[in-house]
Symmetry: C2
Subunit: 468 residues, 2 copies
């Protein structure tokens, strides 16, 4: 993460600590919320309820609609002042089947998942010789005659890191590889899963989907299967595989962002927004991605509702639709509210599992920075360090609005193990540690409460610089 | 494990240490073998070659035949004095498909594997309400009217333990549950996997298969899926599932035990037998079960062949057929050689993964016990403790011959994590630590070499008391 330091900022930082922006009673409440959250199991229970009753909930499916119903009912039952939905429309994709098998020198079935928006193959699949490449750059550089009529295998490995920084570089092959390989007339693309586990799970995820672009059938194989392919190829005989994918891109579907509000007592039009996404991939039960976030932000708001005075600003919980298929809920929300952006004070989304928060960073105005510092002082005993002023996006679903200048805070979670489970069949409730989840709830409750009481407007933050 | 102590034994044990049964040069060789094994990667390379070139090798399949060919060629290339095969005939079972899904209150697909020798269901599966029971005893005790027309779910959890002692009790439901549930007219049986992993893998394995017995379709679900079923059932609404299994029990097939010998220089008719099994389940690549054993015992013999004088007794490596389907290779071998049992001196099989050996125990005659103690003295620096005189079987494939009195040693491996992978798709090469595997090779090399040089005949051990 980049830290931007300027003279103005340094002055603001030095001044912030002395400003004592919050009333003693407000700080007292923040500390109570923090303590209560650490003792509460509510976040975990909400996640357990969602993932047990609904299971996975790919955007555009029946389970997506069930999840929306579940969310409205759950938020209403928790006693929010208002609960409503706002539409988001998006193309959908259906996985029918996938099978990736080595056919020569010996038949071996591989554990694989088609990548979202992959086209299907002809019935029976496509069969071809493997050409193994190091990464997307190698595919871009490869002469078309080496690729044509073959099945490309990109063997790039994702690196494990606390901040998940290994994801971006390896995700490139997943999101762009299909189009690049199509230009060179490959038959199909197989990638090593974008994930860190050595267990035999393939990691799905979406590919970039430009209207009219040519794509080829694309699947990810598990890390052990990628190892096996590499070993077989290194034995020297030509390796042939069959890639058989059944999949459909369907008509646009309209799902809903589900929104619940604690209406502010003094500045109700000003909104502190906590986010998570309600949809998941169609494998696993979407527990860490993003059932955990749903539990965390909902429980944080509920704790405030039950244990604090009515906040000055409104606090909204936004459970976004169709994040996995391309941030469609976040985009619809930005489109609907961007003209009113001055009312959106500060945003933070939980969408990185249930590992403990280790750092807060933010992208806010100079005037509001001391508030973030004062909030950090109340988070420090949770083991949360100050990450400074960064290009904080507030999470993926707030990115479309952050581009318009929405101020945002990132509560960065320890993601060391997140990509062991991310987008796999193995993303299930047991992967969540309730105590770690409670620490997250505590952090979001403190952040939301104090942001709602801030004497300084967050207004708009510096505009987010897109790097994607 | 039971330790039998008697006055005779105590005297023998006390006397053993002073007897100095081995020549200094023999001990020197044992120590060289130990050191060379720890520096060698041969065992791992053999396992990698088998699991990469062949993949899984369910007994009776084409890959089983390929594995037999591979083993003969590999053992011949390693320079054994003799390599041959001996037939083993057994019923085979083919997995065509399985699908276990919750159908009510909400559709959720579970990760499941049919149990070996499960019959198939009618097309489309059987659909019924779940009745959840604690264990096999609860199924036996349940009134038939509570079971009839329902789908039984046994939720018993396997306990993790270094010695794998959690396996036996929970395996009972897998091996006998189908017959018991059939007697009470259940539609199907689902068991919580007999395994310790919280990753979403189902563990297959064989059920007991008595000719003429009625069985019902049976599948194991992964531990996270069993948790999900329990939670859903505890929510109170009736839970219905569909169990759809395609499977065939086929005509008897004849595979081969593959045997390689280092012919003894002085007493060639006397045999020290090292075993492993060549077959595997049809999921994963059979790396820890039992590709590891194949690598360990083959490498141990090869090290002796290359680095020791010709041993006095013959050393045989026996790669058994069809262990997973019911010890068919071991039974055929016992049947073929039991009349000649006095020539079979000592047996030890490696079939518990590649975790380090932590203990040696044995079932040998009183006269031979000091030899085991002297061998243990050379194993101690490998971290191997003395487990004493036990009902050692030498491993599953030697059990049929142990019942006739074959003397046996057990080199017990640390199995703490073995049942995370056992009989799953996730039993792949990356689960093996080459350094731990080398420690196993060292232990088998020392054991086989010194047993072959023993001045005392092992003759027959005390008869194995069957407890199964």
């Amino acid at each position: 993460m980049k830290v931007i330091v300027s003279a103005v900022l340094a002055a603001a930082m030095a001044g912030g600590v002395q400003a004592a922006p919050f009333e003693p009673s407000e700080l007292e409440t923040a500390r109570e919320l923090r303590a209560l959250a650490l003792e509460s199991n509510l976040g975990y229970e909400i996640t357990a309820d969602l993932t047990t009753r609904i299971g996975n909930r790919l955007a555009g499916t029946e389970n997506d609609a069930r999840a929306v119903e579940w969310a409205v009912a759950k938020l209403e039952s928790l006693g929010f002042d208002r609960v409503w939905t706002e539409p988001a429309t998006f193309p959908t994709w259906t996985r029918e089947h996938e099978r990736v098998a080595i056919t020569s020198p010996v038949e071996q079935e591989l554990v694989a998942l088609a990548i979202g928006f992959s086209p299907g193959t002809p019935e029976g699949g496509v069969d071809g010789e493997i050409v193994m490449l190091d990464d997307l750059a190698a595919l871009k550089a490869a002469p078309a005659e080496d690729i044509k009529g073959r099945i490309v295998f990109i063997r790039e490995r994702m690196e494990r890191a606390r901040d998940g920084s290994g994801y971006g570089p390896t995700r490139a092959a997943r999101s762009q590889g299909s189009m690049v390989a199509a230009e060179k007339d490959a038959l199909a693309l197989i990638i090593r899963s974008v994930g860190t586990s050595t267990n035999r799970f393939a990691h799905t995820g979406a590919m970039r989907f430009d209207a009219g672009s040519r794509r080829i059938p694309t699947a990810a194989v598990s890390n052990p299967d990628a190892d096996q392919l590499e070993r077989l190829i290194e034995l020297g005989d030509p390796v042939r595989v069959n890639v058989d994918i059944g999949a459909q891109v369907s008509e646009p579907y309209t799902s809903q962002n589900v929104i619940a509000e604690i209406t502010g007592g003094e500045r109700p039009e000003q909104i502190v927004a906590l986010g998570a996404h309600l949809d998941s991939w169609d494998v696993g039960t979407g527990a860490i991605d993003d059932g955990a976030g749903v539990g965390i932000v909902t429980a944080a708001a509920k704790l405030i509702m039950e244990n604090a005075e009515r906040p000055e600003r409104s606090i909204r919980v936004i459970l976004f639709a169709a994040e996995e298929l391309g941030l469609w809920g976040g985009r619809a929300w930005a489109e609907a509210h961007k003209d009113n952006i001055e009312n959106y004070q500060l945003a933070a989304e939980s969408d990185f599992g249930a590992g403990p928060v280790y750092e807060i960073s933010a992208r806010v105005s100079d005037e509001a920075w001391p508030i973030i510092e004062a909030i950090h002082a109340e988070l420090e005993m949770l083991g949360i360090a100050m990450g400074g002023r960064t290009q904080a996006r507030g999470g993926p679903d707030f990115m479309p609005m952050s581009i318009h200048g929405l101020a945002a805070a990132d509560l960065s979670q320890d993601g060391t193990n997140y990509f062991d489970y991310h987008h796999t069949e193995n993303d299930t409730l047991d992967k969540i540690d309730p105590a770690e989840m409670a620490q997250n709830v505590a952090a979001y409750a403190v952040l939301a409460w104090l942001a709602a009481q801030s004497p300084v407007d967050f207004g708009s933050g510096p505009e987010l610089i897109e790097d994607d």
